[in-house]
Amino acid sequence: MALALTAAELRLDDKVESSPDHPGELDAGTLARCRAGDPQALRRFVLLYQRPVFAFVSRMMGRGPHVEDVAQEVFLRAYRALPQFELRPGVKPSTWLLTIALRLVQDARKRRLLQLVPLTEHTVVADPTTPETEQRTRELAQAFERAAALLSDEQRAVFVLAHFHGLELSAIAELVGVPENTVKTRLFRARERLRTLLDQEQEAIR
């Protein structure tokens, strides 16, 4: 199974400067201006990371208006915690933001303020005028979301972080707070379960 990173999630805004140590990440100068409350720097910060944050939260919680609320809370928490954050060679702002996002998703689940929304509810309905291939792609997307919704929270987080955010196993282990071997096990089981569920979905579609 090929690692399928969503390129659009990781693309940079043209106006955003990239860190020399971490391509695709914000540079230290912009981060310093963010700490000082510079609106332009903050805007760059949000523009750079809003897509991965939205992608992670929506895949963890399902699509819906709550995704925007959680994403905004992620940036608020990050802004408050910026004085403690240091840009070091092994530390990426994107991983740090995903850590905040994961904590917020877990907190929301614990408080039961946000119930897991069935992923099929907000899936785009296929346009009958589109070609048959596109219709089939949309059906596959819906099937995928339904299958992913059946994963456990732990498996889902590990799978999303590994496949869509390109994190190494060690980084996921640190982010999730479990040993690396546990991450491997969860990832393996998530893949197997998804394959099985997707096969069943495809059979149902045929």
Binding site: G37, P39, L47, F54, E68, Y79, Q84
Partner: protein, 155 residues
């Protein structure tokens, strides 16, 4: 088993004006504050547990200190009886001699162990030594039964 492409799992896209609204919210949140996020994860439970540990340590320390203080307190000895007092106790005035003897005998039955204070005290003189002019010589003023609880005294 088919090879599925996970890129079909399309995420939710941010609205066009999300960055602007987020920046406004961030600036409205006030000055940059120090917040334990996420490097200081689980700080709250950690603080809570440290607080409990501190309270427990204070309580145990106070208890141990109190117990130690009790053990090391100087032993207060009863003042030893002076000669005059010892004699007065042993030989009460003639008027009270009989009552005193009855009182002492009734208080300390033979079966009871003798207390340390009594052990130190000189043995009480027999009633014959506390002579009363009305008593016939050679006869003890009081006769006590073997259980020493009842005494009959001769006036």
């Amino acid at each position: 088993m088919s090879n599925h492409d996970f890129r079909d799992w399309t995420p939710q896209e941010p609205p066009a004006d999300f960055a602007e609204r987020a920046v406004v919210a961030m600036l409205a949140a006030g000055a940059v504050q120090a917040a334990p996020e996420p490097a200081a994860k689980n700080v709250l439970p950690l603080r809570r547990s440290w607080g409990l540990i501190g309270l427990a340590a204070i309580f145990m320390g106070a208890s141990a200190w109190g117990m130690l203080g009790t053990r090391q307190a100087p032993v207060v000895e009863a003042p030893s009886m002076s000669e005059d007092v010892a004699e007065a106790v042993a030989a009460p005035p003639p008027v009270l001699a009989d009552h005193g003897a009855r009182w002492r005998r009734a208080e300390t039955p033979a079966s009871e162990p003798v207390s340390s204070a009594q052990a130190v005290r000189p043995a009480p003189k027999t009633a014959s030594t506390a002579l009363s002019p009305t008593h016939p010589p050679g006869q003890p003023p009081c006769h006590c039964e073997t259980d020493l609880a009842i005494c009959t005294c001769v006036e």
